[in-house]
Symmetry: C2
Subunit: 237 residues, 2 copies
């Protein structure tokens, strides 16, 4: 796939409906990109794809380096990331990063963005989904049991995407960031962060979106996939 | 592009917001498929792509064979169509075609379908959008002035797509069919039809959806693109 095109397997509404038993090997997702987010079978942890390496961030805050041929994913989003914008800047927290991105891409509210931020974090609050207790358990229930961790004084990287409002239900409208520490031992879905000193932001606008749907997957075929915008905001916002 | 993958330029919400001044030459759309639907600059008529040929169905019910290099489109959906299902059947009208498709693809409610139907029509009611009177005029207003034609005793072809509910706003959820007569002199967006004798239906399920967004298009960048599900149903249902 060309640089800075977004590839997605399945849709977020399927996770909301608990469709998380099946999916392709992560290796097949990596054919489409080296930078991204996702989850694992049974929503067991958060996925981060950074420089082509795949990590599973687990409910205890720890991280496992994944062998992509041995692991499947029911939902993932990646891009072959080639930043078109690069800034060293002061970014106070999540709202500051969001404002900076809007400033970097003033005409991109109806497009997608791929984002990376490297720096030292005074504090990072993350949550991690601990997995389904039974097949088809929905994401709202799974995330009701999420664990929250705070990492202090940690160097690391944020990987994320911004999606336009009109993809709500297919992906998460707005910003969606995961964090992983430089030592690859800690990480999760970002709730909030505080930086220490300047950080490096790289980003690119994306105007091509490729969606691959599960096939021969009864869970997906049977799912209602009604738009649950409030629910998605609650668990992914 | 592989067979039976759906390619789309821009989103239906952009047409709702009147974003129809710019777009690529139709020739560039044809690189992705030979079967599809769309519209033209300023929503001037309905597009049908049949066996790789592009026709503009105009507000007076007539049809123009388009030279794809000389014409641009602000919105189009195509696939490289290779039917996986084929039936000769009695199809009473639009609801009958819809029921037949559901029967042919019982596990496809969350996927896309590409559809073609060839036959003799006792009656075909079509509407055709006559174009914007000014830039950014929205589709609801444009379609308020649509013309409706009835063709009687005509041999012809239906080209269409079925889209899953969750793409509402990006495309039209549900079924969307255009008609063109065998003599390529009449056509439009189908409101209702009645057949005469058996018809030939070919169709394929599609599990890959490729979306290309307009770039460097101020109209698109400025548009609100709020979901107008009721409006889309009213003008495209």
């Amino acid at each position: 796939m060309a640089y800075n095109e977004m590839f997605q397997y399945s849709i977020i509404s399927a996770l909301m409906d608990g469709v998380a038993s099946h999916g392709p090997p992560v290796a097949r997702i990596l054919e489409h990109g080296d930078h991204g987010l996702g989850t694992f079978q049974n929503m067991n942890g958060e996925m981060i794809v950074l420089d082509g390496q795949v990590y599973q961030m687990k409910a205890d805050g720890s991280v496992v380096h994944i062998k992509p041929t041995d692991t499947i994913t029911p939902f993932a989003t990646v891009t072959r990331f080639k930043p078109t914008e690069q800034r060293r800047a002061t970014v106070v927290g999540k709202a500051g990063l969001e404002a900076l991105l809007t400033g970097l891409f003033p005409n991109a509210k109806n497009h997608f963005l791929a984002v990376r931020m490297d720096g030292v974090f005074r504090k990072v609050n993350v949550r991690t989904a601990g997995g389904q207790t039974k097949p088809r358990e929905g994401m709202v229930d799974v995330c009701a049991r999420q664990t929250v961790h705070t990492f202090a004084g940690v160097k690391g990287t944020i990987v994320g995407f911004r999606c336009p409002q009109y993809v709500m239900g297919i992906n998460v409208a707005g910003d969606h960031f995961h964090f992983i520490a430089e030592d690859r031992q800690r990480g999760g879905h970002i709730l909030e962060f505080e930086t220490e000193g300047d950080v490096d932001i790289t980003a690119a606008q994306m105007s091509n979106f490729h969606l691959e749907l599960p096939t021969e997957d009864d869970e997906f075929n049977d799912a209602e996939l009604k738009l649950q915008a409030q629910g998605i905001k609650a668990v992914e916002g």
